[in-house]
Every structure is written in structure tokens, then in C-alpha cells.
């Protein structure tokens, strides 16, 4: 239990860093080696390599063990999951607002009934 919570925290923490989010965005277009990933940045190859390692430990990217280039590959499933979370959050909001729709429809009727001198104590 505590272990899985830790893993989840690691996934969130990995994505909390702007450089790592940027790396993920680039990997969503295509696989790349650490060298290719490091190119556009002013920071060292080692720094990018460290970022990739954090993403790897969080289960967000994988690297093939045998190929010489060892390209970094984005784990789509992990991101589908995040998209699903956002979609569920959206649905929760939608459910709330449907209750508000219903309330507004109900109170519109009340307003009609009580017009013209509706008084609301609050």
C-alpha cells in the first residue's frame, strides 16, 4: 500500500519539473536518444541523462536494453492514464453542473410563481 503510494508520488513528482515535461512532450513525437534529447538545452548531457532516469524510475519512459543507441521511448499507457484522470475530473464537474442546471430550471419555475414580489431570505 505505502509502496504503491510512493510510486504514484514519484510519477507526479517526475512530471512536476518543467524540463522533464518538455522532454516528455518531445518524446510524444518520436523516440530519441539521450544525446538527441540533450541537444537543444544549455545544460550538460549528464543533467538530461539524470532527468531521463527520473522519468524511467517513475514508469513514464522506457529504454531498450540491447540496442546500441538505447533510444528513450514514451510509455503511452502511463499518459493515457493521466488523460483518463483529467477526463474523470471533467465528468465530476459536469455532473455537478448538471445538478446546477436542474436547480436553475426548478428555481426558474419558482420565480415565475412568486412574481412580482419574490423575497429571498438568506
Amino acid at each position: 500500500m505505502g509502496d504503491s503510494t510512493q510510486q504514484l508520488d514519484r510519477a507526479f513528482a517526475a512530471l512536476a519539473d518543467p524540463t522533464r515535461r518538455d522532454l516528455v512532450a518531445r518524446l510524444s513525437v518520436s523516440d530519441a536518444t539521450v544525446g538527441e534529447l540533450a541537444e537543444p538545452y544549455d545544460v550538460s548531457f549528464q543533467a538530461i541523462s539524470k532527468h531521463v532516469k527520473v522519468l524511467e524510475e517513475a514508469g513514464l519512459v522506457t529504454r531498450s536494453k540491447d540496442a546500441q543507441r538505447r533510444p528513450v521511448h514514451l510509455n503511452r499507457e502511463a499518459f493515457d492514464l493521466m488523460t483518463q484522470w483529467i477526463e474523470r475530473y471533467r465528468r465530476e464537474a459536469e455532473e455537478r453542473y448538471r445538478r446546477l442546471d436542474a436547480l436553475l430550471a426548478r428555481t426558474a419555475q419558482d420565480d415565475e410563481d412568486r412574481r412580482p414580489d419574490k423575497e429571498q431570505a438568506s
Binding site: 465528468r91 465530476e92 455537478r96 446546477l100
Partner: protein, 160 residues
Amino acid sequence: MSKHETEIKADAKVPTIEITREFDAAPERVFQAHVDPDLYAQWTGPRESNTKITRWDARTGGEWAFGGESGGEAYAFFGSFHEVRPNERIVWTFTYEGEPDGVFLETMTFEPLDGGRTRLRVLSVTQDFETRDGMLASGMDVGVNEGFEKLDELLAQEAA
């Protein structure tokens, strides 16, 4: 029933959540449903929870708090009304009691549309992505467990 589903945007560059929704009612009435505690309690909160408002002073500088129970678990939120501008805008702070260091600043705008309708926009900003993503993940009661299970599986696979 109209068809204008909630839209949501979780920005990749800044830790925000932006929700947009349209209503078949004028801004005055949508606003009222946000500031009148009796009305607010009727629609807010996770479904199947009975929201109880414990503090409510919907004025600039006032405070608010409500809580309830969902799936056998108690939850509570609190904050302050930073600005209440009738029928136009509410700015409040929002904290989940289980995460006392994570505060969101929420700006709600009630924009009038043609035909006596309203576009509600809720922009939430917080200090970092961890807090933002934690909020996205926590808002889903039942669904979130399913999601966590899948992530657990995935992480277990990666570790193997």
C-alpha cells in the same frame, strides 16, 4: 436539456485547471446559486454526498467552509472570499483539509451570452504541478481508485 458539456484544460506549462461551462440561465441566477448557501449545498460536492455548509459569508473578505461524506469517507474544504462582485465575478481561495498546504486561487467569471444564457469560467491556480495533479487525481472518488490500480499495475510491470 441543453447540450453544452463542461470543458477542462490542465495547462502543461503552468499549474492551472480551467473549466468552462454554459448555462441556460442569466448570470444573476448562476451567480446566486454560487453565493446562496442553501442553493450551493444542493449542487456542489461529489455526487451522493450530503454537503453541509459550516461557515459561509459570501462577501469580499468573508470566509467559507463545507464538508460531507462520500463513499464512507468524510471530507472538508475551506477558504476565503477574496472578491465577490455581484453577478460578474467571485475570487476565492480553496483548500482541501486533507492537504492543508495546498491552496488554490479560483477565479469564477459569469459572462452573459445571448438569449439570457451564461458562460461560467473557473480558473484555478496553485503553487506547483504536484498540487495541481493531486487535485485532478483526487476529484474522482470511485474512478480514481480504478485509475490508481491501473497505475500500480503499470508501475509494478516497469519495476519487474
